[in-house]
């Protein structure tokens, strides 16, 4: 008989979600975090308003399929640069994680940054931690109603403003502000403002730490980048234990106590609701709120700071911490290489591109004088910051002549021009499918020459 394994009800392993009321803290890491919030949110809300050469400095003009990044214009053809940039971003994340742990989570992640602003607004409307907890337990009253309403009003207004700014990266924000003021915003703009506003409201107002705990892939794999020299937040357990309360002016050693007074302020301050004294946990986003909370208590008690502190596994074990090590050197070298390569690729990219699209309706046409004609649409993409004047030519097919409606083509800075082009050859000079080259030459003094192959089809001779 096979043994029946004990049944485990998986659902009972999931703790019911309880609401977390993070306690307000002051201290050096809090100042650093506030600074990061102001800088990053400032950057987000101000950037779309910056002008460059008469256009929005940073504009992802999706309807026109053009990305303006300060003086540069990118087109979908430059997609590999975006991929490259994403790889650089991912590798930077690895590099900084190996070096300093979850620096990203604690200070720079949009989830953290917006959550902090939303918690700040909540505090403005509902008061400090104890007041918020009391308010939530209390039955509905006029005070509870207006406090909750004030919070919701601030949250929704800020979320809508965030959605509006976000859409301003894709639709010129100055035009958007005019159309918002005159109630004439386009349907898709309204939709995306509401969509992004709702995402902000839900993530920063309601989901908060649950995003980090249950939804964030980075939170799950960041541990793989950690080693014994990675900066982590840790509780100095040999110094703190045994924990316990004591009067202020009593030597803890005389009562056989460590330095932890078990005030649980570090737990109350934690935005993810963990107890750092239990050791490093997956939920810890390394925001350092517990360090500030503990330091303030240590100051009050007259003990040395640093019972909860930034440290490394090696430092805890009394070994030296190395910043330069195989892992960081490899990540760093790769990152340097990729960033240099990216700069080179952007600087040396072809500023003018030529696409040849064959007319799909007819393979070829026989003219009255017997010549064979193929029709194409030529697209010239000018990624340069200035306009160019170009002429079109055909090479690679000696008998062919090129005919267009315009003698020269003018392509404005950062724009695309389509020109219908006809290639003609004398009857019988070629048969079947051959390849010609269509060439665009700048005649404005710049030495741009771009070439693209064009398939020419003539009736086959039998």
């Amino acid at each position: 008989m096979s043994k029946v394994p004990p049944q485990v009800d998986l659902s009972s392993l999931y703790e019911a979600q309880r609401k977390i009321y993070p306690r307000e803290v002051t201290g050096r890491f809090n100042r650093l975090r506030v600074l990061a919030v102001v800088a990053l949110l400032g950057l987000f809300y101000v950037t779309p308003w910056v002008q460059w050469d008469g256009h929005q400095a940073l504009l992802f003009d999706l309807p026109a399929r053009k990305f303006h990044v300060f003086g540069l214009t990118f087109f979908p053809q430059d997609f590999f640069l975006l991929t490259w940039l994403l790889i650089i971003a991912a590798l930077s994340l690895f590099f900084f994680t190996a070096l300093a742990g979850r620096l990203w989570c604690g200070y720079a992640c949009p989830q953290t940054v917006w959550t902090q602003i939303f918690v700040w607004m909540e505090r403005l409307a509902e008061g400090k931690r104890q007041q918020r907890m009391k308010l939530d337990k209390a039955p509905w009253s006029f005070e509870k109603l207006w406090r909750k309403a004030a919070k919701q009003f601030m949250w929704i207004a800020f979320a809508l403003f965030t959605g509006y700014t976000f859409v301003g990266y894709f639709t010129p924000i100055r035009e958007l502000s005019t159309s918002v003021a005159t109630w004439s915003v386009g349907g898709w703009e309204v939709f995306w403002i509401l969509f992004y506003g709702f995402a902000t409201y839900g993530n920063a107002g309601h989901l908060r730490e649950q995003v980090c705990k249950y939804m964030c892939p980075y939170a799950r794999f960041q541990g793989a980048m950690f080693d014994r020299d990675t900066l982590v937040i840790a509780y100095d357990s040999p110094r703190g234990e045994p924990r316990g309360s004591r009067p202020r002016n009593v030597d803890p050693r005389s009562r056989n106590l460590g330095d932890c007074i078990d005030c649980t302020l570090c737990v109350q301050a934690c935005p993810t609701g963990i107890d750092i004294r239990k050791g490093l946990q997956m939920e810890c986003i390394a925001c350092a709120a517990c360090i500030d909370a503990c330091d303030s208590v240590m100051d009050q008690m007259g003990y040395a700071r640093g019972l909860v502190t930034y440290t490394t596994q090696n430092a805890t074990d009394g070994k030296p911490t190395r910043v330069l090590r195989t892992r960081t050197v490899i990540y760093g070298a790769l990152l340097g290489l990729l960033i240099t390569g990216f700069g080179f690729a952007v600087a040396s990219r072809e500023l003018i591109e030529l696409d040849v699209l064959r007319d799909r309706n007819a393979l070829y046409r026989t003219l009255d004088d017997g010549r064979i004609e193929n029709v194409y649409t030529i697209r010239i993409i000018n990624k340069d910051g200035e306009a160019h004047e170009m002429t079109l030519h055909v090479t690679g097919l000696p008998s062919a002549s090129l005919d267009t409606d315009v003698a020269t083509v003018r392509i404005g800075a950062g724009s695309v021009v389509s020109v219908p082009v006809r290639l003609r050859v004398p009857a019988g000079s070629t048969s079947g499918s051959v390849t010609a080259q269509i060439e665009a030459r700048a005649i404005d003094g710049s030495d741009h020459i771009v070439v693209s192959p064009a398939r020419f089809i003539a009736p086959s001779s039998e």
């Binding site: 019911a16 997609f79 995003v211 939804m215």
Partner: protein, 101 residues
């Protein structure tokens, strides 16, 4: 006592459903973002205008991008949701699975 335990169980099951839903929605959203970027970098919906079929309103880039995104999101959410559900219900089908060493 027993009633308490039951309600705690229901709570945690409900909480778990929310967590799973969050993971499914978020991961499929990320995948849909990538798919939309890649797809529309290579395909310009304006070319749909050259044909009568599919409908010309889809040739408006804003509409095509938005609908394309939600189409990808629907597809990735179906995949993520089914995967979550299959993984979740796998153990319950064979309670007498022999113990592996």
């Amino acid at each position: 006592m027993a009633a308490n335990a039951k309600s705690a169980d229901e709570n945690s099951a409900c909480s778990r459903l929310r967590q799973d839903a969050g993971a499914v929605v978020w991961c499929s959203f990320l995948a849909a973002c990538f798919a939309t970027m890649l797809f529309f970098a290579l395909f310009d919906p304006i070319y749909l205008k050259q044909d009568d079929d599919p409908p010309s309103w889809l040739a408006d880039r804003r509409t095509a991008y938005a609908l394309g995104f939600f189409f990808f999101w629907l597809m990735t959410a179906i995949a993520a949701g089914l995967t979550a559900w299959l993984v979740d219900t796998r153990g319950a089908c064979e309670p007498n699975r022999p113990e592996t060493t």
